[in-house]
Symmetry: C2
Amino acid sequence: MYKRLNICTALDYVKEHIKFLEKEDLICEEISDGNLNQVFRIKSKEDKHKSVILKQSLPTLRIDETMKLCLERIDIENKYLRDQGNLVPKFLPKVYHYDGNMYLIIMEDFNEHIILRKELISGKKYEHLGKGIGEFLAKTTFCNSDLYLDPLKKKEKVKMYINPELCRITEELVFVNPYYNCPKNKINPWLEPVVQELINDKRLQSEVSELREEFMTKAQSLIHGDLHTGSILINDMELKIIDGEFAFYGPIGFDIGAFWANIILSYESQNYHRSNLEERREMEGYLLNVIRDMWNVFQREFINLWERYVSCPIMMNNIYMEKYILSIMQSSIGYAACKIIRRIYGLAPVIDITLIEEKEREDVQKKSINLARKLIMKRKELKHIDEFIDLIEERN
Amino acid sequence: MYKRLNICTALDYVKEHIKFLEKEDLICEEISDGNLNQVFRIKSKEDKHKSVILKQSLPTLRIDETMKLCLERIDIENKYLRDQGNLVPKFLPKVYHYDGNMYLIIMEDFNEHIILRKELISGKKYEHLGKGIGEFLAKTTFCNSDLYLDPLKKKEKVKMYINPELCRITEELVFVNPYYNCPKNKINPWLEPVVQELINDKRLQSEVSELREEFMTKAQSLIHGDLHTGSILINDMELKIIDGEFAFYGPIGFDIGAFWANIILSYESQNYHRSNLEERREMEGYLLNVIRDMWNVFQREFINLWERYVSCPIMMNNIYMEKYILSIMQSSIGYAACKIIRRIYGLAPVIDITLIEEKEREDVQKKSINLARKLIMKRKELKHIDEFIDLIEERN
């Protein structure tokens, strides 16, 4: 039943299945840019507001065709978009159509939104970014956890979202490969000594193993699983979360950490994307504020929800609530650090770094690795978001 | 399809389904003594070595008929006995027959083994007890965890063992009810002040909430889920683990803690089951040794398996291995304490305590509660099994 679509067949498929486009004269373009799927935009020639995105699973990783992947991951994405869309519709694309045989989703197109990563590279500042992500993560993680859901319902959802193949990608690329001499690492020659030192650091490895175990065992809430700045679309008014195929029940800190890591990588590379000193400083300050805003809003919303909904007698307890939230912060910092390291010399680097000229890249890469190591080792000593931000600033 | 069996129909069912009994003249007795199922022993009149156990799920809890329960739990037990039986056959009954429509298992009968709880009350000492439980738990928990299993296989097993209804019983009876004024608690009048003090202790509640969260979210390995001394059959040669219906992927420490709790309750009540001082001291020393043996063998076996099988480059790391095992010990101590408290004034007390005369019971109950509170609060400071045993001994 499964057939890989191309520009022509994707267009035909949409014409057949999407009511509001069936009478339109359509054009189709391929806009795939992730590592796992093909993505098409199909739109009306006359009315640019009439358009959809068609996303189809591919049977292998685009960046490494030896890595086969189950097509069923699109089913997880479909469930994720609908589930989270029910909780916080403003942050997610509407799903118009799902085809479990063709392994595809047709969903809302946001052609007036831009991928956040690109916006940050070009120096665009959105005041609502940190707050929006904080709100999205607080509401979705709280409402899918044992803090809110009936325990029977929660366990049903854990089962429904078990996602072995996509979790394995993260388990390997984020938590293992960067910490031994794995042939898949892409280590620039100037980084060799730094990386070797890191690989030989047994205390660091032990901490990373602990974070990896938490990732593999802790079914705390439904998380996105790949929340980097390429999974966020933004404009002046709003932001949208896309790409839910990595979703599973995991530690809440993993999503927060993924977001922070990518903000930090943007922060570390501002130096090389802005020639104007003042602009650069402003952008750096803005990015640190995004981290602070994100956390403060997350924390505030999470506490609001806790106070409103937690009814288990032993959990209506401020000592526990504060501990629970602090432990999310510390785990987020650990995951942020692992995500930074992985993006510096792992299989899938980020353009924030690769766009920088070679000579200058060395500096930002080394700084980022050193910061990440420090964060992994010190995360459990940090009690307040400002201590985390201080560490980022003190990087020199 | 489901029909509740009685002594007659159980006998007929066995005659029909068990080859080695079909030509025998059989007798059947009901031996149910747990809270959840009915259990029959069906044996040949002529040859006492020919016998089987038939266990059938009931639709409600025997001790509280308002609590409905899915019949499917017998399916979990069947899988558990077969899975663990493949790993360590000597510790488990063979399954002869499973009927998913009648919700029953027919399994090996150990009529020369006695329930451990009874043996400990009557002062019987088995040198192999602690070592056997240590070996059983080390092998089964290691081999069902991410330390050993392929991550895809492990997640399949997590899914297969999701066990919402039986987990909920534990979540409520062990981790919630004893910590607020729950009508299901059975508080002897003399315990009221002690229990009220405990219920008002917010720091304690916070620690219990943490243990509860770990129980509800940490899919570390396949555990038995109800490993008290009534789930262990023993004789001079060997021990057998029965009753796997609570099995699920949870924290390894939960099984160890359940075992320790019941050994500690036996230890605390020896005073009242032995009139001879010397016998009492011997039995107390023996019980502390069971705890020590169990842990030392568990630890040794776990390390052996780790050194032999862990091949993930970042996990071949002694710092991490020691931390991992220490954290199992600390979590086991926490669970042991929760299980002690639950057995003192929760819904399902143990005969070790209820057999004691009222006047004397007060003393052992108070001592046990105080010890448990101390263990919950101090567990993360304890670095060695002997420090745990010291705390048990220092109870006066």
